[in-house]
């Protein structure tokens, strides 16, 4: 009964409908009203210039039970985790390139995608202010010309990578292991830019701002605004990046300039960067505090209600490996016994000291070769061979160990309601034909 009356009310008097439904007039922003209008076939006066959620035909429903894929221009088909906000994961077997090309780079948006840059990308401005001696406004042109340019291969991983492994399920995008890339990024060191502004002793934390609008359409709040402690901001591998793999950063990945602070949740690597606020306290922007990007200090009961005071912000990402030579579900020809396999592994602030593989469900493990990274915070190649005893169904389990001796756990650890830190040993199934 209530549904019908709300619909009728929206047709007659949308402002009053808002008040009835939401407790205050005009509570729904433009996007909401347009959605309502579209659904009801009515015209709502406040809906101008606010597009409803557009769902490109590329997001067609999958046939059968296969995963939904998205075809984004210039990219290989990626796993679609969400269309609004747009989120897409790279299948593990597409992560074989040591330097991740654009076509295999995962997509992660918190909000709407900002408009394409009008005019010269070199004119885009980034503001540095707060606890600095000299606030700066630097154009992309100045960032590229006034500061030494550094090119580094840097891991970029979504904070929620591995979330799908939690039981019971948690909120958020249900990533497997594929929210990871290792591109070659070029830019000024964040440290050099902060030193040019002159960081005051009172500086504690950065707060980052970008041009991506909040999903609701509100202009008074960012879609995401996180930051890092000054010690991380001043670490020499952190970049204000303007190029990816030698080319200007593509729009979907944060053009024309973004932060790349490797080894921490990707949300600190602000895309479409407009401002770095050097603060005298821990940043409290969108995505800071509570259970956001945080893990429990004292472990909580899985599925239970969190106590916010029991949470600390996640900093370094945990150790993880991907298998890149063979997709889950690979069929191998009859007679296959020896298989060369390989992948990538990384460990946030740490490095990877071992990768082990099992084909008997963890009953026995074989060490793989692990190569050193080309620079700190790049991922590391691992490779080796496995020998199967017969034809049949096998699982390749792969487990990385970090430089402090911590292995990937057997299941997603330390349950939390937003599913951060899920880095369990993963597995790929293969079938050797008889």
């Amino acid at each position: 009964m209530r549904e019908r009356s709300i619909q009728e009310l929206y047709c007659d008097d949308p402002e009053r409908a808002d008040a009835v439904a939401f407790g205050r007039r005009g509570a729904l922003k433009g996007a909401a009203l347009t959605t309502m209008a579209g659904a009801l076939g009515a015209t709502i006066p406040f809906a101008a210039n606010m597009p409803a959620g557009l769902l490109p035909a590329a997001f067609a429903q999958p046939s059968g039970s296969g995963p939904q894929m998205i075809t984004f221009e210039g990219k290989q088909p990626l796993l679609l985790l969400g269309d609004r906000p747009l989120v897409a994961e790279t299948p593990e077997h597409l992560l074989d390139d040591d330097v991740t090309p654009f076509e295999k780079f995962f997509i992660r948006n918190n909000g709407q995608i900002p408009p394409q840059i009008a005019g010269d990308r070199l004119a885009w401005r980034v503001q540095i202010d707060g606890e600095v001696n000299t606030p700066l406004t630097l154009t992309v042109g100045e960032l590229e010309s006034r500061f030494p340019q550094v090119t580094l291969r840097l891991q970029m991983e979504c904070g929620g990578n591995g979330r799908s492994f939690y039981v019971p399920e948690t909120r958020g995008n249900q990533w497997g292991n594929g929210a990871i890339s290792c591109g070659e990024w070029t830019g000024a060191r964040l440290r050099d830019v902060l030193n040019a502004a002159g960081v005051k002793p009172s500086a504690v934390y950065t707060g980052h701002y970008g041009a991506d609008p909040h999903l609701s359409g509100a202009t008074d709040r960012p879609s995401i605004s996180r930051g890092v402690p000054m010690v991380k901001a001043m670490e020499e591998h952190g970049l204000i990046a303007t190029r990816l793999n030698g080319q200007p950063i593509p729009h979907i990945h944060g053009a024309p300039v973004r932060l790349v602070l490797p080894g921490w949740p990707g949300s600190v690597s602000q895309k479409w960067l407009t401002r770095i606020w050097v603060r005298d306290r821990v940043h409290d922007g969108q995505g800071m505090g509570g259970t956001s990007y945080s893990v429990p200090i004292a472990p909580m009961v899985p599925g239970g209600r969190p106590d916010n005071a029991n949470f600390r912000t996640m900093e370094s990402m945990p150790v993880r490996a991907v298998l890149t030579s063979h997709a889950h579900g690979t069929r191998l020809p009859a007679g296959t016994r020896r298989l060369d396999i390989r992948g990538q592994a990384w460990a946030g602030e740490l490095s990877v000291r071992a990768v082990d593989v099992s084909i008997d469900y963890g009953a026995s493990w074989q060490a793989m070769e692990v190569l050193p990274p080309p620079n700190r915070y790049a991922w590391q190649r691992w490779r080796g061979g496995v020998t199967f005893p017969s034809a049949g169904y096998f699982e390749i389990w792969y487990r990385a160990t970090d430089s402090q001796g911590k292995m990937q756990p057997h299941v997603a650890p330390n349950w939390n309601p937003q599913g951060y830190g899920g880095n369990p040993v993963s597995r790929a199934s293969v079938l050797i034909e008889a």
Partner: protein, 104 residues
Amino acid sequence: MLAAAMPALAQTAPAAQRETPAALPEGPGRDVTFYVCTPCHSTAVIRRGGFTRAQWDDLMDWMSERQNMPVLNPELRRTVVDYLAEAFPPRRTSPRGGRNPFAD
């Protein structure tokens, strides 16, 4: 503003599709839930979830406090949370097959 960004996606997709409440499972409160939630995000964000009623209810506060959702009046909130709890309960069971002995 967003219209200018759409051509990048539109190049991969000849036509835009708009979701309808039918994207969600049937049940009392489905349509209202659709209208309350999809101004900001698609139904994918809803359908990926599987939570207890208490968790869905807590999520309404999080949406209002953290994501700019208008505060729902009690009756509307009850309708929406009842629908979500019925349509999207927890789906992943413990690997041991049993119930967590400490769960509420």
